[in-house]
Amino acid sequence: SKTTQGITVKIEDLIKSYQKVDEELLEELEEVLITADIGVQTTMEIIDHIRDKAKAEKIKEPEMIKVILKDKLKEILGEFEDDQQLNIQPSPAIILVVGVNGVGKTTSIGKIAHKLKGQNKKVLLAAADTFRAAAVEQLKIWGDRVGVEVISHQEGADPAAVIFDAIQAAKARKVDVLICDTAGRLHNKKNLMNELGKISKIVEREYANATRDVLLVLDATTGQNAIQQAKIFKEATNISGLVLTKLDGTAKGGVIIGISQELKIPVKLIGVGEGVADLQEFDSNSFVNALFGEE
């Protein structure tokens, strides 16, 4: 897969340089985890787990540490294996895409639309980012690119009104999946978060029979702030899945380990580039391998 090369220390090399399991090894391991953005707290928990397990099972082989570590991470991430599909069955379905500024919402929507079209679904897009300069045009270009219609209003219009119209259009055209783009917003802005609540209400009222998915897009480059983003967006809109973008860079996106553990939201998709096909299903195995610079 098209994921990161290991600029950070490879776990492999690290493990190989030790003869036995000791505190020094654990400390270096701690560094690797933190460098992958796993965060201090989660890292400490993981290291404690490894230390305890190594002690309890009298493990002396450094090589085994790697196994324990990977198992632990996969356990945290793999908990949701049944929930990793987009929630779009049965039709009609509506996917709301939210997140802070510039993480890749609009681009991911283009890619998701492309993917669903490939599965013979009838897809419609709603341009409910009426705030950012040329956000509507951007989504329209994606719509053209993948051959999907876009419902839009003027810049500055009420986003809830766009969603309302798009729902009516989706019903009239018997669309399978309506995907709604929203403006980037920082989670600490109360009024903008309330706006999401308003959108959710419209969906509930106007499209009660629709299957729903609310995707929070997170940028893999983001550090510990992503935890805060996930927490607050979850409170505001009932997030049902995560999309982790920009994994084609050198950032590892390790922060989602802590998010999975704490908030129990599955990662559904990952973004690995700017092209229409650069979207993959999340696989905890390859993610964990990439985390440590292994292909």
Partner: protein, 307 residues
């Protein structure tokens, strides 16, 4: 946020020692562990944290703290001083060329805030009785040119574009030419977001640099960036030789440790802080404010200063 109170933790660490007499080296080490955790939790890069902590430790053990009656406060003071110094002690601004037009080029990862910041800078520079021109050199991102045109319209600054069929080198050259012919004394070039490891697109920026010799190449960095900030900054600086940094999205609640990482690996000044989506939301960067934000203890510092 676990590190709401680094200051509090430090005070507690030392409070326990009260009555025990002098603080010893181990006590300082314990305190430094708290500092280290706080910085990591704020997303400061691991290596940068290590170097920093070693430096502070040496100074703390060297003298001041061990003798002090208020060791907790002393440590905070040293940490803050060192941090502020590392952030860059002085404020730096755009260096305008004596032979206009001054050429400014914004570069950075995808979605960092380049296009928006172009508009903000244009507005700021216009207020200084200059006549900026924006150049649309992002030919890749859907509607990037339109976005710059809208932003330019909002601040009433002209936008030069040749569409998305010309390469950025030609666009930049023609834009500069246009500026000279139209009396624009500053040009600001918006470039496409790119990964620091994308050799082809990094090469493109090098070619633009070669052909128009910008006075200021500014790296735009999202303040929410994690550990990877050092890789990004290192690569952009190595390939392009950046002149400064603009930190965006500081209106969020991130601690912004990336600021420290970027600063430490490039040794280039952070020139501006962007604090919102509106085109007024930009200010000159204040290293001292950033230092206390990263530590999450603005209030405590002002108390210590008063004491």
């Amino acid at each position: 946020m676990i590190f709401e109170g680094l200051a509090e933790k430090l005070q507690n660490t030392f409070h326990k020692l009260k009555g025990k007499g002098k603080v010893n080296e181990k006590d300082v080490n314990d305190a430094m562990r708290e500092v280290k955790m706080a910085l990591l939790e704020a997303d400061v890069n691991f290596k940068v944290v290590k170097d920093f902590v070693n430096k502070v430790k040496a100074r703390a053990i060297g003298a001041e703290v061990l003798e002090s009656l208020t060791p907790g406060q002393q440590i905070i003071k040293i940490v803050n001083e060192e941090l502020t110094e590392l952030m860059g002690s002085t404020q730096s601004k755009i260096a305008f060329s004596s032979k206009p037009p001054t050429v400014i080029m914004l570069v950075g990862l995808q979605g960092a805030g380049k296009t928006t910041t172009c508009g903000k800078l244009a507005k700021l520079i216009k207020k200084q009785a200059k006549r900026p021109l924006l150049i649309a050199a992002d030919i890749y991102r859907p509607a990037a040119i339109k976005q710059l045109q809208v932003v330019g319209g909002q601040v009433d600054v002209p936008v030069f574009t040749m569409g998305d069929k010309q390469n950025p080198v030609n666009i930049a050259k023609a834009g500069l030419e246009h500026a000279i012919n139209h009396g624009n004394d500053v040009v600001i070039i918006d470039t496409a977001g790119r990964l620091h490891i994308d050799d082809e697109l990094m090469g493109e920026l090098q070619s633009v640099k070669e052909s128009i010799k910008p006075h200021e190449i500014l790296l735009v960095v999202d303040s929410m960036t994690g550990q990877d900030a050092v890789n990004v900054a290192e690569h952009f600086n190595e390939k392009l030789g950046i002149d400064g940094v603009i930190l965006t999205k500081l209106d969020g609640d991130t601690r912004g440790g990336a600021a420290l990482s970027v600063r430490a690996v490039t040794n280039k000044p952070i020139k501006f802080a962007a604090l919102g989506e509106k085109l007024d939301d930009i200010e000159v960067f204040h290293p001292d404010r950033m230092a206390s934000r990263i530590l999450g203890m603005g209030d405590v510092l002002s108390l210590i200063e008063k004491a």
